[in-house]
Amino acid sequence: MKKRILSLLLCTVMTATTILAGCGKETTSSSGSGDGNKDEFITVDVFDTLANYQGIQSGWFAKVVKDKFNMELNIIAPNVAGGGDTLFQTRSAAGNLGDLIISKTENGRFENMVKAGLLMDMTSLLKDKAVLTNYKEAIDLMNGDLETKGIFGIPGEISNQSPLVSSEGIEPLVSPYVRWDSYKAIGYPAMESLEDFIPVMKSMQENTPKSDSGKKTYAISLFKDWDDNMMVGTKNYASLYGYNEIGFVLVKADGSDSQDITSSDGYYVKALKFLFQANQAGVVDPESTTQNYDILSDKYRDGQILTSLWSFQGSSYYNTVEHKNMGKGFMPAYIKGSSPFSFGCYPNGNGKTIIAIGSQTKHPERIAEFIDWLYSPEGMEMAGQANGAAGIEGLTWEMKDGKAVFTDFGEKALPNNNVPVPKEWGGGSWKDGVCALNFKTLSIVDIDPRINEPYLTSMWSSELAKRTTPLDLDWQEKSGGAKTTIEFLENNHALSVAPGTSYLQPEEGSDITTLRGQCKAVIVDDSWKMIFAKDETEFNSILKHMQDTVKGLGYEQVLKVDMKNAKDLADSRIKAVEEYNNKSK
């Protein structure tokens, strides 16, 4: 009997402990010390919606952070954890996102985070800090509209350049990159319009029928993973003409035009038609419909795809030193009348992402110091390395005759290579040690006051001088001596820079969000079907199906919201340019 009761008790206790174990509050090993004293080693939980790495920051950047602040960064990344917004929702329901927070802000998220008490007011923490004195205007603007007064977030990408200067350095958002060797072989045909691109692609495909590994080549290949409000692969062709999306609307970079994407004579449908015709001509990879980004990336590495609109896809994967020396690689061609879209600099910061301190942190002082450092030139060089900055002075770069140049190590390791780092600099591989925060504090094209050249190393004069491979030389010759894509487009007055503004898309009602979710599914699905339609009649009937279905769902209501946002965005762009001009007068 006794035994039975005992086992029963044991059973109950075990169940209870299993259940209760999940409810316990996380106990933190370190406590106290709200002051800036750095005697105690701490682990900072970073909730980072931009990061693509989850876990403790390692390698050379971890060493820099440890030496300077005696702390380590534990990065919590929803992108890696998956499940969309779930991680954000569960953590915010618990009332503690993390010690340091890097988050998107649009659709009312910033206001709601403040309202829910997740962020700390940094006013007293930032007093006398350089970040506040240098970027007061941007910070005030970011926090000005909040119901609760205070400094709760600092915007990213703050710049001291004109909003009309491209913030992308050397490559714009999109450009018609072609396999230059193939384009050269067919005699650099001129393209008067986008339609002329199709026969060019066809002859490139005939000229280069096999990839490096002997697979069949295609001029265009698409993937579906990043489709959101519309099909990204289609929108990119509209971006060639200076348009970019806001909801279901395409807005021209200078704010002069806004188009409903479902309208039959808009650029989105035009781009669909272009891709449909391209598919009819046999230059679209039939696997586009089922492959994902990784499969497509491998195809680019193998040279199976002959054009690309994104520099980070075509040239990053295929333009290796070896290929370039063979004269092979992606270089931008020129389509007359096109004017690729590029994001301009943000004099008041890009408020779409912010950095903030969590309301529950025990070490606000030290985190504030860390943030301050991230906005300093040295912080930019190191943390910004993930986006193309130089890294550690003395290790990857040095000053030589008053000019910043790569060291031998930097030559091997930069921008992002798997090269072992010497022990005294933190060990590990360079690539694994790159700062995983993925947050741009200042504009990467701004001038680094320590070297008087942009932070972005590919814009350094010493780096541009290295563009001497057969591929580069041939392209430069055909492009009137321009060294970079942006320079080339600027020379042709064919770059649409969208002035960077502090405009943020306001919060939309949940019913609009729901409708949007339903409409975008229809738009994306029908877009794909249109491109792969059998003939013109089918193309038109799917187009009509798309227009009718979204209309039936209540598209008008969503479009009204988007049109208003588009107008506000356009206005803010005009205003941003005026403001900057007035200030610099």
Binding site: Q89, K115, E287, T513, T514, G517, Q518, D525, W528, L553
Partner: protein, 310 residues
């Protein structure tokens, strides 16, 4: 006399109390995991926007339920989704006889090691995740995949057949993958049931001159029926829950109209559209319909077979 009755009574109360304590932990567990989460239904009546607390959000009443039927196109979408769900569940139930047949015939194989090898190999796919199944399907059936390359080289076709990105036969395809994945696993239960059949039955039938097929038909099959019906009833209760991972990995713009089952629909508009309240409303409706279906099946089973499961 009276005293002895009371002691007896108190003894039984004590006994039953003890027995009751034995099941208390399980009652607590089922309450915690099955009933406690139901309080989350309250989100269906709010306009919930994380990170705000529920108290900071608006109460909207039945709004989300009405949204589902707000206009003709919405209703048409829901109807299509329900059609897909029911069709695929129905096909799933139709094909649930396959494991029985498989177990029946597998049981007749006398070569033991061969039987074991077949059983293991057919049960294995059950442990492969749908993501991996899709990558297998992708390398086999895509335009440049094995099947198409083979057919092209043999000259059977001139254009690659679009297996994955076409709307044709999508129900059959999905059922095919399901059967491939679940056949061996489903047969395990039946094999166990077969092992439990009294061997005297077979001996008696053999004496009466029954051949192997008669044995299968007259003894093995009827003995498997109770197991089959219990499984059938349980699968009917899950009629609307045909999972979403399979359809999620196989979905693309071309087949979405017919592949989108209820769970996937909830995911597509609720999670990716981040409208948690709407998703809760739909899943509430789903639970209620499942409950009704279960009650119906139970009723039918009681009437026709005299057995019920609840």
């Amino acid at each position: 006399m009276k005293k002895s009755v009371t002691t007896k009574a108190s003894k039984t109360t004590l006994q039953s109390r003890r027995l009751f304590y034995c099941i208390v932990p399980f009652i607590i567990l089922s309450f915690l995991f099955s009933y406690f989460p139901l309080h989350g239904w309250i989100y269906a009546f709010y306009d919930y926007k994380p990170p705000l607390k529920l108290s900071q959000c608006d109460f909207v009443g039945w709004k989300w339920f009405q949204t589902l039927f707000a206009n003709k196109t919405q209703v048409a979408q829901i109807v299509q989704v329900m059609k897909n769900t029911l069709a695929m569940s129905f096909l799933g139930i139709l094909t649930s006889v396959f494991p029985i047949g498989f177990a029946l015939f597998l049981n007749e194989i006398k070569c033991k090691w061969f039987k074991n090898v077949v059983q293991t190999l057919t049960a294995l796919p059950n442990f492969i995740s749908w993501v991996l199944v899709y990558s297998v399907a992708f390398s086999l059936f895509t335009d440049g995949g094995m099947i198409n390359s083979l057919l092209l080289h043999l000259g059977v076709i001139t254009q690659p057949i679009k297996f994955l990105d076409s709307d044709a036969h999508i129900y059959s395809w999905m059922t095919f993958w399901n059967v491939w994945k679940g056949l061996g696993w489903g047969a395990i239960l039946y094999l166990a049931a077969i092992a439990g059949i009294d061997s005297e039955l077979y001996e008696a039938a053999r004496v009466d001159g029954a051949n192997r097929f008669r044995l299968m038909k007259e003894i093995t099959l009827p003995s498997l029926m109770p197991t089959f019906f219990v499984l059938l009833m349980m699968s009917v209760a899950n009629f609307l829950n045909n999972g979403m991972d399979q359809y999620y990995v196989f979905q693309n713009s071309f087949n979405k109209e017919h592949i989108q089952v209820l769970d996937l629909y909830v995911y597509n508009i609720g999670m990716t559209g981040s409208s948690l309240s709407l998703a809760t409303a739909i899943s509430m409706l789903k639970s209620i319909i499942s409950l009704i279906l279960l009650a119906i099946v139970n009723f039918v089973s009681k009437k026709t077979r005299g057995e019920s499961i609840i």
